[in-house]
């Protein structure tokens, strides 16, 4: 193979050499040479989305469900600006994405040319790194470097802006050589700090593991090592929204998710613990609640590959910078070599205390025989799908929190949700990306009707590629979480938190050649869910649920972990002025 080729051919060759099998994209004037090369080959499959935002979310779904980087190809100007939300989403959730954008030819840059935008300028704050390539000879090396940066250290989205003349020009192709990159994050943790943590684990009376998306990002080995460590020590473990599945929901030390809508027992354990071991989480404000009342009696250890995460929000006693899998391996080694010690008696009492909190049964809700309670819908969905090869995406809002509470995840890479940015419209395109990567799996997007409508154009994509994604829409005709906050915080003034012009979702599905199912009677729900699962093709499931259900438990803004609201009682005026300015 000659190493001389056009920039456009180089793009395709570089993607092949990076092991890319799927690209999500949308063509336009400034990327036509690359689309020409895609047309001329069969190794890389291109998925035509219906909006560039959908392309990035689909790539995120692909990346999160496989552990490989997701790849996006879009045109200049509006193609690039439409990708910005997805890039920001991927940055906040540390998802490896490589976005290739077309750009107007180099000699027209700065002239306000048609479909010109300062793409690298616009995307600089929402990418881990980005490049404008002005020389075809540097194109291949830049693409390889982009994959290296996106997937090394704390993963994140990167963008390469490629002017059209660079695509047409001929240059020399170079092969991947990641060791030549200056970007080489440290993977091994400091052994002194690791030993200090092990010593703290040996004497802790109320330890808790607090895990996050970093465990998932670190790879399958990290989840395996985490399970080994948790089971060997017997310490209870909770996780952020992002980390669900790293430790199995059926595991005996599992506390459930923590945070604003986390489980009572998880939050109380965080509040009362004497050793908090953060593994790959970042003390997000959804987790900590009021900072000065966060886990007040604990010694805090933090394992993170990104040094800037440490001491950013919470002061840490034992900081360990490194990759989760590498650090967990060393922790296990040191702990075993020192005789596998824990204060078993104290930890047993700690579990007994936690069991007391568990008895509160914080997820309890009032059932109904007339309307479908959203919690009930998710319980039935869980019961009918948990034994299948299942992947779950969500949109953002109440349904997302209920899904996190009521669905159990046994393995990493099975749960795709927009955590940091909270992007409504994420779930549907993400489910398309997941299904592309796992064609035979059951891929469900738990959605709210409002979120789902934000990227509903992707019905075209699902239909075109016959992707059997199941859109499980909890339809309350409300922006449920907004409505809940307005009830709690804004005197029940429901300003613009409902839609008076919702579509008939069954007809909408049929208009795209998909299957529509509507269910509003709890008695019919199981059959309807089974019909959805068994249908070989995309399904739009309109699950008409109770309109005014609130999501509990809830730590109101500005409150501490031990000040959770457990139910409807006494919700009025709970958020005071100081908390009201928080989001």
């Amino acid at each position: 193979m000659t190493s001389e080729m056009t920039g456009a051919k180089m793009v395709v060759q570089a993607l092949k050499d990076q092991g890319v099998d799927t690209v999500f994209g949308y063509p336009g004037g400034a990327v036509l040479p690359i689309y020409d090369e895609i047309f001329l080959q069969n190794d890389i499959r291109h998925i035509l989305v219906r909006h560039e935002q959908g392309a990035v979310h689909a790539a995120e779904g692909y990346a999160r469900s496989t552990g490989k980087p997701g790849v996006v190809l879009v045109t200049s100007g509006p193609g690039a600006t439409n990708a910005v939300t997805g890039l920001t989403d991927a940055l906040m959730d540390s998802i490896p994405i490589v976005v290739l954008t077309g750009q107007v030819p180099t000699f027209m840059i700065g002239s306000d040319a048609f479909q010109e935008a300062d793409t690298v300028g616009i995307t600089r704050p929402c990418t881990k790194h980005n490049w404008l390539v002005k020389d075809t000879d540097k194109l291949a090396a830049t693409i390889h470097e982009a994959f290296h940066v996106a997937t090394s250290g704390r993963p994140g989205p990167v963008l390469i802006d490629i002017p059209k003349d660079v695509q047409f020009a001929t240059g020399t192709y170079s092969r991947p050589n990641p060791s030549s990159s200056h970007y080489q994050p440290v993977l091994k943790g400091d052994l002194e700090e690791i030993t200090e943590l092990v010593a703290a684990m040996e004497t802790a009376k109320k330890p808790v593991f607090y895990t996050g998306g970093g465990v998932i990002n670190s790879g399958q080995a990290a989840s395996q090592l985490l399970r080994e460590l948790v089971d060997a020590t017997g310490f209870p473990i909770t996780s952020t929204l992002m980390g669900l599945g790293a430790y199995p929901a059926s595991g005996k030390n599992w506390l459930g998710m923590l945070g604003m809508h986390g489980l009572y027992e998880a939050n109380m354990a965080m509040h009362d613990c004497d050793l908090l071991i953060n593994i790959g989480a970042r003390f997000d404000d959804r987790i900590t609640g009021r900072i000065d009342a966060f886990s007040p009696h604990s010694k805090k250890a933090h394992i993170d590959i990104d040094p800037s995460s440490i001491n950013k929000v919470i002061q840490i006693d034992i900081p360990i910078v490194g990759d989760v899998a590498h650090v967990l391996e060393d922790i296990l080694k040191v702990w075993k070599s020192r005789g596998r010690k824990t204060d078993a008696e104290a930890v047993k009492q700690w579990h007994a205390q936690i069991d007391g909190w568990r008895k509160v049964n914080c997820l309890a809700y009032t059932g109904s025989e007339k309307t479908i309670k959203p919690q009930y819908a998710l319980q039935r969905l869980e019961a009918l799908t948990k034994d299948r090869d299942r992947y779950v995406c969500t949109e953002v809002g109440q349904h997302q929190m209920w899904a996190a509470q009521f669905l159990g995840f046994e393995d990493p890479h099975r749960w795709m949700t927009s955590g940091g940015l909270g992007t409504m419209g994420y779930g549907f395109p993400a489910s398309i990306g997941v299904q592309m990567a796992h064609p035979d799996a059951l891929v469900i997007n738990v959605a709210g009707e409002a979120s789902w409508l934000m990227n509903m154009q992707e019905m075209g994509t699902a239909a075109q590629y016959r992707l059997p994604v199941k859109q499980f829409i909890l339809n309350n005709e409300r922006l449920g979480m907004v409505r809940q906050w307005q009830e709690l915080l804004h005197g029940e003034r429901y300003s613009h938190s409902w839609s008076e012009a919702l579509p008939d979702f069954v007809k909408l599905a049929e208009a795209f050649g998909a299957k529509g199912i509507m269910c509003s009677d709890p008695a019919d729900l199981d059959d309807a869910i089974m019909e959805m699962i068994e249908y070989d093709g995309p399904v739009l499931f309109d699950c008409v649920v109770e309109k005014h259900e609130n999501c509990f438990p809830m730590i109101p803004s500005g409150k501490a972990h031990n000040e959770m609201l457990l139910g409807e009682a006494e919700t009025q005026g709970v958020i005071q002025a100081g908390g009201a300015v928080l989001v």
């Binding site: 990104d306 800037s308 440490i310």
Partner: protein, 186 residues
């Protein structure tokens, strides 16, 4: 000056020995950042400061290694110890940043700034301006019958003092380079 106990020579790549960081005391730090000299790298650094709400008191940048394509950015910033540590850590995670040094912590360091000042005046004021310039070792780099341009080099507070003295004597314009700084010794 600093409440931090950072090993000498440590950089943002190390999160160790940072305690105690959660104090309310505002500190002024001079940070030297070695970056790859590529388009947009200054925007990345400045965007970090504006995006995360950090202060920049002064910032200088120039290529220092032509063959290695490296530029040195010297930033003077203020913040609590926790914010200073965040700034260094955030700088360190920019892909084009090669190294971050907190000269205030790793110091002692030498800080120099250059300023040129236009002073317009006649008669006694003009004579007095020239006399003070001599005391401050400022050089006259341009002169007309009713104006001087002085060049002065020194620590920022020396330049501040000189500018304050020139103000009643007809200071019309001032241009400052911002701080350049190096660690003392080897």
């Amino acid at each position: 000056m600093s409440a931090l106990h950072i090993k000498k020579g440590s950089t943002s790549h190390s999160a160790y020995n940072l305690r105690p960081t959660f104090s309310d005391v505002q500190e002024r730090h001079t940070i030297a950042v070695l970056v790859e000299n590529e388009p947009g790298v200054l925007a990345r650094v400045i965007g970090l400061f504006s995006g995360r709400g950090y202060n920049i008191e002064s910032l200088t940048v120039a290529e220092v290694d032509h063959t290695g394509h490296l530029s040195r950015i010297t930033i003077v910033t203020t913040g609590t110890p926790q914010v200073i540590e965040q700034i260094k850590a955030q700088l360190g995670r920019i892909v084009s940043v090669r190294d971050v040094h907190d000269l205030t912590v790793e110091g002692p360091s030498v800080e120099r700034e250059l300023a040129i000042l236009k002073v317009v005046g006649e008669g006694d004021k003009r004579v007095e301006a020239l006399r003070l310039a001599d005391i401050f070792r400022a050089n006259v780099v341009d002169s007309t019958l009713n104006s001087f341009i002085f060049e002065i080099t020194g620590a920022p507070d020396k330049i501040d003092a000189f500018a304050d003295l020139m103000r009643p004597l007809g200071l019309a314009e001032i241009a400052r380079t911002g701080v350049a700084a190096l660690l003392r010794g080897d």
